[in-house]
């Protein structure tokens, strides 16, 4: 057992890298949540389920339509986004006038339906999804063996995160979004169709979840319950980062991935709860989260 006690620095390095990989998943998922919360004030409890749907769509495309990974990478988020759009238009929209908590409850119910329906149809064992040929294999970095696919996941999700951040903070469309978050009425009075923008935002937010699902499919078994446990952690990430803060979601996602990675080495039993401990501490010191604004 002695190897575990004195961890050589390279091994630690490997663990940090893995933490970063996980963190990029957290970042991608919490980014979607943050976008949705920022614009719609809805805590999207269905996010984990839609992440699962994203992975399943990829699998279905492969199994029944012969569409491979790269096609799925585009199509699955699109499908999930359209599902989100439909949900927003038909259901969520009716709740904006009442307490935000009803949005949370509605999406909670939707999550149950999605997960239950997939479980009913496809069972729980999950489905295998192969790593695409281009990304098979790995590199021996000396201190660890890094599967190429994992490297791709980090790169892809960081790219999407930064892209989203850029789109929201640095473009015209992003300016509309930010302005509409502050004062939707006035933005409407400038001739911008805010309701459509809100729908699209929700669609985009859940499409991010769908994308995360496709990225996850080759790593995890594609199973109906894959999102339900992850989502609670992602919520904690968003709360720590500050609800609605884009940058907060990204930075906290990565940071917590790293921290969790370290915990897995030094005290693995606690690695599932470290996020919640950090959350409690952060909220005591900064009630609005690390990057959040007091509302």
């Amino acid at each position: 057992m002695s190897q575990l006690l004195g961890i050589p620095p390279q091994a630690l390095f490997g663990q940090l890298l893995l933490g970063l990989i996980n963190g990029s998943f957290y970042a991608l998922l919490s980014l979607g949540l943050a976008v949705i919360f920022g614009m719609l004030n809805v805590v999207n409890m269905a996010h984990g389920a839609l992440y699962m749907v994203g992975a399943f769509v990829a699998w279905l495309l492969l199994t029944y339509a012969g569409v491979g990974y790269w096609g799925a990478l585009v199509l699955a988020p699109l499908v999930v986004g359209l599902v989100g759009l439909a949900l927003e238009r038909t259901l969520l929209r009716r709740l904006y006038k009442v307490d935000h908590l009803y949005g949370l409850l509605l999406t909670f119910g939707l999550a149950l339906i999605f997960e239950g329906a997939f479980r009913h149809h496809y069972g729980v064992s999950g489905q295998p999804y192969p790593i695409p040929d281009l990304l098979k294999g790995g590199t021996n970095l000396g201190f660890m063996y890094l599967p190429t696919y994992r490297g791709w996941v980090v790169a892809a999700s960081l790219l999407v995160c930064l892209g989203t951040w850029f789109a929201i903070e640095r473009t015209k469309l992003g300016a509309y979004l930010r302005a509409a978050t502050e004062n939707p009425t006035l933005v409407q009075a400038f001739g911008i169709n805010v309701p459509v923008m809100v729908s699209l935002t929700y669609g985009f937010g859940v499409a991010l979840a769908g994308l995360a699902g496709v990225l996850a499919a080759p790593i995890y078994q594609v199973s109906p319950m894959m999102g339900s446990n992850l989502i609670i952690v992602v919520f904690a990430v968003v709360v720590i980062g500050g609800m609605g803060s884009i940058l907060g979601a990204i930075v906290t996602g990565l940071g917590l991935g790293l921290l969790e990675g370290l915990t897995k080495v030094f005290y693995p039993e606690a690695s599932n709860i470290v996020v919640f401990v950090i959350m409690a501490v952060v909220l005591m010191v900064k009630p609005a989260g690390l990057f959040g604004r007091e509302r």
Binding site: N41, V43, Y102, G109, V239, F276, M284, P287
Partner: protein, 320 residues
Amino acid sequence: MRGGSPKVLLTGALLLLAVLAPYALYPVFLMKVLCFALFACAFNLLIGFAGLLSFGHAAFFGGAAYVAAHAVKEWGWAPEAGLLAATAAAGAMGLAFGLLAIRRQGIYFAMITLALSQMIFFLALQLPFTHGEDGIQAVPRGHLFGLFDLSQPLTMYYTVLAIFLGGFALIWRTVHSPFGQVLKAIRENEPRAVSLGYRTERYKLLAFVLSAALAGLAGGTKALVFQLASLTDVTWQMSGEVVLMTLLGGMGTLLGPVVGAALVVTLESYLASTSLPVPVVIGAIFVVCVLLFRRGIVGELRHRLPGMRRRRTDRPRTGS
């Protein structure tokens, strides 16, 4: 109580029904309904009368079940002592949760309670006394006050009924107490309550602790009824379930959670022996309730039947 004879009659009829029920229906089922009804009522005290949505109430319910089961099984405590311990433990947990969460509102409050309850879940999985995923099994029911043999189904039933009625009465009293008045005022307009000189955080905290303790009482009772305490009761899905019961029955109505709990428990036990996917049905009910019947069954009834709406002071907060 004042409030016209129809109310007295209704109360009497319901009581009679509760007393006679075990002769018609299966007692364990009834006891389960009562446990969940008390749990939902306790939860409703918070959401319906203080406007706070806790998404972590399973921690109190399930946590207290472990405490009761352990005290009775391992320490050989009498059932009443076990229940007391469970209630106190849940109250203490509520105090800890409350101190952390109560300053936040709405969604933040919900998320924080959710996260805290996840900690309790992991503790329940890890601590040796909980026996991990096997739970504490074969908990003896013992003799209440050393006199009544609780292994007799009817004795157990009437004990559970008494506990439920006690808890319900306490909630009723709380809602209709000076404290309840302030609570309602805070729910309606917190800044105004502050400006009148109420330290609203303390009131909300007390409400939270009360609600947690009663949820604990329900959980402890359930542990005795089923003679086990397991992880099921501390999962976040259980927190969601109690929200569903309350929503379905009617938030902020006293009887609503009872009706909601009875419905959900019946539904679950019915669905167990069909091939319908349980979560889908539950989820669909959730969605329909949120979209169409936000007032819940009892709430809608009261809204529709003019005779019942003499005073609509128990309505939940909506809007912003």
